[in-house]
Symmetry: C2
Subunit: 428 residues, 2 copies
Amino acid sequence: MSLIVQKFGGSSVSDAEGIKRVAKRVARTQAAGNEVVVVVSAMGDTTDELLDLAGQITASAPAREMDMLLSSGERISMSLLAMAINEEGATAQSFTGSQAGMITDAIHGKARIIDVSPHRIKTCIERGDIAIVAGFQGMTQDSNDVTTLGRGGSDTTAVALAAALDADVCEIYTDVDGVFTADPRVVPSAQKIDRISSEEMLELAASGAKILHLRCVEYARRFGVPLHVRSSFSTNEGTWVLPSPDDKIKIQEGEPLEQPIISGVAHDRSEAKVTILGVPDIPGKAAEIFGIVAGAHSNIDMIVQNVSTKGSGKTDISFTLPIVEGRDAIEALKAAQEQVGFENIDYDDQIGKLSLIGAGMRSNPGVSYKFFQALHDAGVNVDMISTSEIRISIVTHADLLDKAVRAVHAAFDLDGESNATIYGGTGR
Amino acid sequence: MSLIVQKFGGSSVSDAEGIKRVAKRVARTQAAGNEVVVVVSAMGDTTDELLDLAGQITASAPAREMDMLLSSGERISMSLLAMAINEEGATAQSFTGSQAGMITDAIHGKARIIDVSPHRIKTCIERGDIAIVAGFQGMTQDSNDVTTLGRGGSDTTAVALAAALDADVCEIYTDVDGVFTADPRVVPSAQKIDRISSEEMLELAASGAKILHLRCVEYARRFGVPLHVRSSFSTNEGTWVLPSPDDKIKIQEGEPLEQPIISGVAHDRSEAKVTILGVPDIPGKAAEIFGIVAGAHSNIDMIVQNVSTKGSGKTDISFTLPIVEGRDAIEALKAAQEQVGFENIDYDDQIGKLSLIGAGMRSNPGVSYKFFQALHDAGVNVDMISTSEIRISIVTHADLLDKAVRAVHAAFDLDGESNATIYGGTGR
């Protein structure tokens, strides 16, 4: 008997029919002899409707109240799903984030999980029932206030529960067949990846592949949770995201992980570039700037510090961050302009980021050359570069991004036969 | 400084405009130097929409999941109201039933409050903030499951909080100007009652006056909470429902309660009559029957046991109960037919109940005579009669009810100048 955590997003439960379809799938999984815990997001448009209501009331809602409001969405979807599963002849009970023991910090709107105590979930599945858990939400430790986890929150809930329950697999249901070597909407010849290491998936997610949120992959990697990203519209195998052997944790079915040299190409249009001009070139200034940005709860991605112009005593620092966090970060920086002593700020949200991911990169010195040659041949200029052991990322102008993705995907022989039918066949 | 609990129903917060209007009123109450706790129901149609969604999934939802679903409604209204109050420049925080310490039994869908521990609400108002509490919902003591209190639940939440916080008054906001001597839609000359004892209000509520739910009035009477029933569309004084002097509790402003002989006429179309035919006329059979009905969680109202037909050893027992509880009660009785040994069941939901209420009745022997004379003159036949010290109730055919109400209202000189404009002026 396996313990399986299944996560269904809002598009899978957008209406009564969707909820019934998910219920059948969950009931079948249990009937096949598994223990099942389900994590569910709010129904399709619920969150947007609630945000719209709040917008009619105020332009600046207190974050605590916004979390209280938004967390009602999963209560609706999870109780309806429990009803639908009962209608299938199985027994299900739904649990809020608080009831499921999802303890978070108190940063409303983007809370982080600090503990998971799923006593009630354990009792539920040990009794032979199916547990439905509200994704995206938790409760603060001290004040028992309701929090939400921010973007990708439901995926993170699912992985955190899977880790705490020592589940055999965490299945992330989505509207595509798995993780692809590139976004099939940009590269029609992109292929589904059957297996990928947590490490590579982490780089893919960090580089803008939308299918799994970075936090979820980080969590899965740290706790050795095998992920299975698959379509909620078919029973086909999707993409297995497996813990690396050196993460000293169980490998699904004990098989060795096959490592292709390059896993895929990811791209991201959700970031903006901030350049701080004329920063005093003295020790501690970069840390001071990044401290200010962190204080505004913004997540810095790529950083480039230009060499100090000789003799000026000044330098420029550029970094990227999510566009949605740009306003707060810029405000915080402007407020500290005098204290830090920089001259000006430049903000550009017309950028695109492209990343090439592959564990094989470490041992293949020709990768960088081929990568930049392909970009050059395609006429793509490069604004920023950042690398890790298994990733090369570049920033270019937003308009050039699609061309760049196709060029790099082709250069590394990732093109298969057109997968457009696979992708299009998912219907949504 | 007074501590005021204000309760607003779903029609007061049916949209963003309504929520803003309530927020202004709440903020003004605090600005006038009071501590304020607000209890709020779900927005207008929310509950119906959620029930409709559940109906698309299943015809027999588990009660626990139905409570989880319905309780999301108040989360939405209360967090929006907190936002709107913050927009008014005051500070408000919203609390679920569970956070507000509303502990109930585990009868989902019609849970009863067994304890109120409003530590967080106290802390909130002591800090100078306004506390918004979800009406209608609570949490079980043992399992921390979400419960709902059933009909009139938000009023009961408000009174229970007022009692636990030792509030000076519990204001129940409604869409009419207060409690009337009869339903103005039936008797246009009905007059607003300025003051009424808890005891009389209890009889009025039990007799079908819809403006306050029976449980709420019971609770207010037991804990000596002064109620003020008033319109959310005006600042006029409404009806004060004051604890009786012999309930040994504080009287608002120390004034003696003026007791008119007759307070008002209530009517009720929500009950059905059940007649159990051919019940063995031996001790304990009535208790057995009422035990079965109670086991189906139905609330019996009036009871009439006919005199045993001489020598038959059999008797008939009639009682009334809410129509919505009729099906469960009849099913439970039929299942026990052999055990109890009765011959048949008759069910009639085309009945109407009329009640005359007044503390003065106790010391005025002519009341009954005048009451039945008025009914007789109006051609109203009487099926069942039940009396208390301050109430006479009769059951007649549903079609005769309005005529009966007008006849009795006139006979006891309750008619004032037409209040139709007052009533109609509320607009909803």
